[in-house]
């Protein structure tokens, strides 16, 4: 349980993390460092242990070995794949869940406005579409001003268009609130679109750790974007046999606006 000297305040340090369920080892010595305010996406095949990792970070489960160091007093909020709204509370009361103080309804209302659902405050959750429910769940997570936001495949059940909208919303709110964010997803494109770093977990360990140095908001069809996506995807598909390298950043081509004045 030695604390690394270079660990920065607010960062999260995982060292040799182990988690077993019966005879099955799900996390097998996983090490990862997440800086404060960083957006990390965890990708991998089903059953690779990525959701288990998230549950350990959330404190919903305890590791069998290794160390998990994170700030003791941080507020952690999880957004689950199923929105997990309480059906017997109105949308507003769902967002206010666990909030204390006289200003709780007001804060919940503001959070709801941030996700664009202020006008649905008094509805029952069953009335909302899947995308709207996830927006409520996002508002419910952010209203607590968490230092660590954990997203467990939050967009997995949504249709493609709603998913793109939600990605933009998550990015915007992450930039506004700046929590350390860990997104678990099976969608490599989503990971490349949102994260500062994409981490591939394979057989309970980190198999690949790629920094996405593209400016935001990112375009899905952009050549560099596609290069990242292909690189990670090929590694997922081919396993350790994959030897491909991420192509170097292309030399900036001439731009018309730079040429204009020279003509």
């Amino acid at each position: 349980m030695k604390r690394e000297d270079f660990t920065l305040p607010g960062s999260i340090q995982l060292q040799g993390l182990q988690r077993r369920f019966g005879a099955r080892t799900v996390l097998d010595g996983l090490s990862l460092h997440i800086a404060q305010g960083e957006f990390v996406a965890i990708v991998g095949r089903s059953g690779c242990g990525k959701s288990t990792l998230l549950r350990l970070l959330a404190g919903l489960d305890a590791p069998d070995g290794g160390s998990l160091q994170q700030p003791a007093d941080q507020t952690v909020r999880v957004m689950f794949q199923d929105a997990r709204l309480l059906p017997w509370k109105t949308v507003l009361d769902n967002v206010a869940l666990g909030l204390a103080g006289a200003d709780a309804p007001q804060r919940a209302r503001e959070a709801l406005a941030e996700v664009g659902l202020a006008d649905r405050a008094s509805e029952w959750p069953v009335r909302l579409s899947g995308g709207q429910r996830q927006r409520v769940a996002l508002a419910r997570a952010l209203v607590h001003q968490p230092q660590l936001l954990l997203l467990d495949e939050p967009l997995g059940a949504l249709d493609a268009l709603t998913r793109l909208e939600m990605q933009a919303l998550i990015e915007r709110l992450w930039q506004a609130h700046a929590p350390t964010t860990v997104l678990v997803t099976h969608d490599v494109s989503e990971a490349v679109a949102l994260a500062d770093r994409v981490v591939l977990v394979e057989e309970g360990r980190v198999a690949l750790d790629v920094r996405i140095d593209q400016p935001r908001p990112r375009q899905h069809g952009d050549a560099r974007f596609v290069a990242f996506e292909q690189h990670i995807l090929q590694r997922v598909l081919q396993g350790p046999a994959y030897t491909g390298q991420l192509p170097a950043e292309p030399v900036q081509p001439y731009r018309f606006n730079q040429l204009n004045w020279a003509l």
Partner: protein, 260 residues
């Protein structure tokens, strides 16, 4: 416009056509002497009996007796069932202590203990209240217990991770989540309460609707026997409507109660 107006009223009237025709046929059959009074009195005689008993105040005395027995027996039985159901549902220890006993007792038909109850309490109020309480305890207990145990663990996990624990968790998550099931138990218990009360009052009582019917039988007053049967039906319906209103109010959020 006029067509839809007509249709709307037709839809309201049609369900009542058959009962009205039956009632008319019954009245005609009685008036013409085809139907023996001892078998079935005319509807007009039943109505006259109702009027007579209302004026003399007897009707309300008996109604009040029955209603009070049902209400207090139900309050005790359902209240105990709710408390025990909560205890067994919320704690493994509570389940271990109570559940086996209650599951064994639940298999006794409440009316099977009637002779024993009469031996214990005679035919006074306590006997009836005890029987109703005994009959209503189990449905409420079982449904409360089941309602809590079948709560979605994902919702509980979410609420806990959002800092909702202890009493707040019970109030905001456990109780509202178990409420649909609890109310099913309550409605079932209300039905049972009436059945038990009818039998108990008919066999051993000195007031109440069941007594009214049993007493009238002695004097061959069939119109009062029929009136008693109708009163039970009416009271049962009133209680059922009340339970439905409660459900509609408390389960507004439930997909089956959402206004279209």
């Amino acid at each position: 416009m006029s067509q839809s107006f007509l249709q709307r009223h037709a839809a309201r009237v049609i369900p009542w056509l058959v009962p009205a025709a039956l009632l008319l046929a019954w009245q005609v059959a009685s008036s013409m002497g085809w139907l023996n009074h001892r078998v079935l009195p005319a509807p007009s005689e039943v109505l006259a009996a109702a009027w007579r008993l209302t004026v003399s105040g007897e009707l309300f005395t008996h109604l009040y007796s029955s209603f009070w027995r049902a209400a207090s027996g139900f309050a005790i039985g359902a209240g105990l069932g709710l408390v025990l159901g909560l205890i067994a549902g919320l704690s493994r220890l509570g389940e271990a202590v109570f559940d086996t006993t209650l599951q064994m007792l639940r298999n006794i038909p409440p009316l099977a203990i009637l002779p024993l109850v009469i031996l214990w309490f005679g035919i006074d109020e306590t006997a009836k209240v005890f029987l109703v309480a005994f009959g209503t305890l189990f449905p409420v207990y079982l449904n409360t217990y089941h309602g809590i145990r079948s709560l979605d663990p994902a919702l509980l996990e979410m609420a806990r991770s959002y800092g909702v624990t202890g009493q707040a968790l019970f109030r905001q998550v456990v109780l509202p989540g178990a409420l649909p099931s609890i109310l099913v138990g309550v409605r079932y218990a209300l039905g049972i309460a009436w059945i038990i009360l009818i039998v108990a009052e008919t066999l051993a009582a000195s007031s109440g609707i069941g007594y009214l019917a049993a007493n009238a039988r002695e004097f061959l007053q069939t119109e009062i026997v029929v009136l008693s049967i109708l009163l039970y039906a009416l009271l049962g319906k009133v209680v059922d409507v009340a339970a439905r209103l409660l459900e509609r109010r408390w389960l507004q959020w439930h997909p089956s109660y959402l206004k279209a």
